[in-house]
């Protein structure tokens, strides 16, 4: 907190609006556990992707036309005529996937190391809110090119709200602004797709604020006890994150430049046709696990509720997990359960992309049941009965244990 600027201009500003000091504290001398692994890079990568999406999105909206008769052609205009338009559009489309990749890794890192536990419940909640906003934004963005998958994805997902008893139908009509997905729907989706990323920015600021209030978790799950345990964020983690960013960008660029349509679906290069549904509708890959849960229930309302419930239960996680130890590193049983849960989520993703036929229906149902069993039953039970491994007394000690060579050097 000891920010004492020497530059007179900075001093002048900061004594009136302490924003520079705030940024300095957040990015420079924020005391960070010294033992963060590369799994802690994905938060800042998600931040970078949010910026990439907003910048490319603003560019695309300069050339895009939100009208059912022109949307598809305007996207092709971007791809063919706008200077570097193909780059912007592929960056935005693949960027969405990359954003979800890093966010999913970020979430699973939190699950593994117990980052949702007290006092980080609000931090966890804000993260889930960001996740929900991302899903809404990505869904509406996918509708904008007005291809076949855009149109039928929009139809299927908006129809989910029709499952709500009594008012369902009115809500769907209200969402559409008509009696089917049409021009009013496209226009409002464009408007909201432009708005929501800035809402995400707001929640991200709260997320970082909460993080800096409670401090970062770390692989041991033990709080920082004294100065020895922590290092300033800059330069240690700035440069570590930059290296992580470099590796990540190489992967991003491999998709962007050499397989830009790999994660997309060919049907979305067919202009939307309200009279013909494609043979096999699938959402984008990042929605597949939830799509699998939706389809696992042979009842409209039940499926919709379970799908939203799959995210809702995550909000209760800090209270469902009773263990006093955070990190799975010291929780032998939870560690195994974690990997099974991850496997379960991957199975759900796989099933979500398959047609609704046996054996995928059965596998999907088992995986769905297990998803909830893990969170609602196994997690509380394991927390109560599990015997954890001995915890190191401090982060420094854990670091020294990990590096026998360093220890020897210290002894010598």
């Amino acid at each position: 907190m000891s920010f004492e600027p020497k530059n007179p201009v900075v001093k002048w500003v900061d004594s009136r609006l302490p924003i520079i000091g705030m940024l300095h504290h957040a990015l420079n001398d924020y005391p960070t556990p010294k033992n963060l692994s590369y799994w802690w890079t994905f938060g800042s990568l998600a931040g970078v992707m949010l910026v990439v999406q907003i910048v490319t999105g603003i560019v695309l909206s300069m050339h895009y036309t939100a009208h059912v008769d022109m949307a598809f052609d305007s996207v092709e205009h971007i791809m063919r005529d706008v200077n570097y338009g193909w780059l912007m559009r592929y960056m935005h489309a693949n960027g969405a996937s990359m954003f979800f990749v890093v966010v999913y890794l970020h979430i699973f890192r939190g699950l593994y190391y117990g980052s949702y536990k007290a006092p980080r419940e609000l931090l966890w909640w804000l993260g889930l809110v960001i996740f929900l906003l991302m899903m809404a934004t990505a869904f509406m963005g996918y509708v904008l090119p007005w291809g076949q998958m855009s149109f039928w994805g929009a139809t299927v997902i908006t129809n989910l709200f029709g499952a709500i008893p009594i008012v369902g139908e009115s809500i769907v009509t209200w969402l559409w602004g008509g009696f089917s997905v049409d021009n009013p729907t496209l226009n409002r989706f464009f408007s909201l797709h432009y708005l929501l990323p800035f809402v995400i920015v707001g929640v991200v600021i709260l997320h970082i604020w909460a993080l800096h209030t409670v401090g970062s978790n770390n692989p041991t799950g033990i709080e920082i006890k004294d100065k020895q345990d922590s290092i300033p964020f800059h330069p240690y983690y700035t440069v570590k994150d930059l290296f992580g960013l470099g590796v990540f960008l190489i992967i991003f660029c491999a998709f962007l430049f050499y397989a830009p349509n790999y994660l997309g679906h060919p049907d979305n290069y067919i202009p939307a046709n309200p009279l013909v549904t494609p043979a096999h509708i699938v959402p984008e890959w990042y929605f597949l696990p939830f799509y699998a849960i939706l389809r696992a229930v042979p009842d409209k309302l039940g499926g919709v509720m379970l799908m939203f419930g799959a995210i809702a239960v995550l909000f209760a996680l800090p209270w469902l997990d009773k263990s006093r130890v955070r990190s799975a590193r010291y929780r032998p049983i939870y560690k195994q359960l974690f990997w099974i849960f991850l496997l379960d989520c991957i199975v759900l993703t796989y099933v979500g992309g398959k047609p609704a036929e046996e054996p995928f229906i059965l596998i999907g149902r088992i995986a769905t049941v297990y998803y909830f069993v893990h969170i609602l039953i196994l997690l509380p039970l394991v927390g109560l009965y599990e015997k954890h491994k001995p915890l190191p007394s401090s982060i420094s000690e854990a670091v020294l244990d990990e590096k026998p060579s360093a220890k020897e050097a210290g002894n010598a």
């Binding site: 300069m62 050339h63 063919r80 706008v82 780059l87």
Partner: protein, 175 residues
């Protein structure tokens, strides 16, 4: 500690070089990455392809003019009278803010073709008005003569002449 100073100094130098190289290459990369985001706002390929317009002159009487559209801008095409041509040619070029002979502004003297955008701040001037019986820009009071040259007011330059050629006696291609 003091005994190792020379080695450390060397280390510091190598380290500084590494930092400067990384920072420098990073800055170059960032600058190159920004260019596509800037260039995307320049005219796109389809806009550049639409750069010429053909206009039929047959219906324009002597002493009247029409406004054609070229690249989204108004283009004045005036069938000048003998008096107007005479007035345009009887000016001492030395006295003009932007000296230009009328013969340099019109391929055929009877046809004056120019972009109808005031060179001050982009308004469209009114025809057959102003102190010189040419064009007058109502926005900030620039007066142009019968050759479209600036004579009075804040505009710095004459009305621009677009590239054009006569396909035949009755048709002109602008652009």
């Amino acid at each position: 500690m003091t005994t190792t100073t020379p080695v450390e100094e060397d280390g510091v130098k190598r380290r500084d070089f590494l930092y400067i190289a990384t920072g420098g290459i990073g800055a170059v990369g960032t600058a190159m990455a920004i260019w596509p985001f800037v260039d995307q706002m320049n005219p796109s390929a389809d806009v550049l392809a639409l750069s010429s317009t053909e206009v039929d002159l047959g219906a324009i009487e002597v002493g009247s003019e029409i406004t054609a559209v070229w690249q989204g801008k108004p283009v004045f095409i005036r069938h000048r009278t003998a008096d107007e041509i005479k007035a345009a040619n009887s000016v001492d070029l030395e006295t003009l803010p932007d000296p230009q002979a009328d013969t340099d502004r019109a391929v055929k003297p009877e046809w004056l073709i120019m972009v109808g955008v005031c060179t001050h701040l982009g308004c469209v001037p009114l025809k057959e008005s102003g102190d010189f019986n040419g064009w007058f820009c109502p926005c900030h009071g620039s007066h142009y003569d019968t050759s479209g040259r600036i004579r009075k007011g804040p505009a710095p330059l004459n009305l621009a002449v677009p590239p054009y050629s006569f396909i035949d006696d009755k048709t002109v291609k602008i652009g």
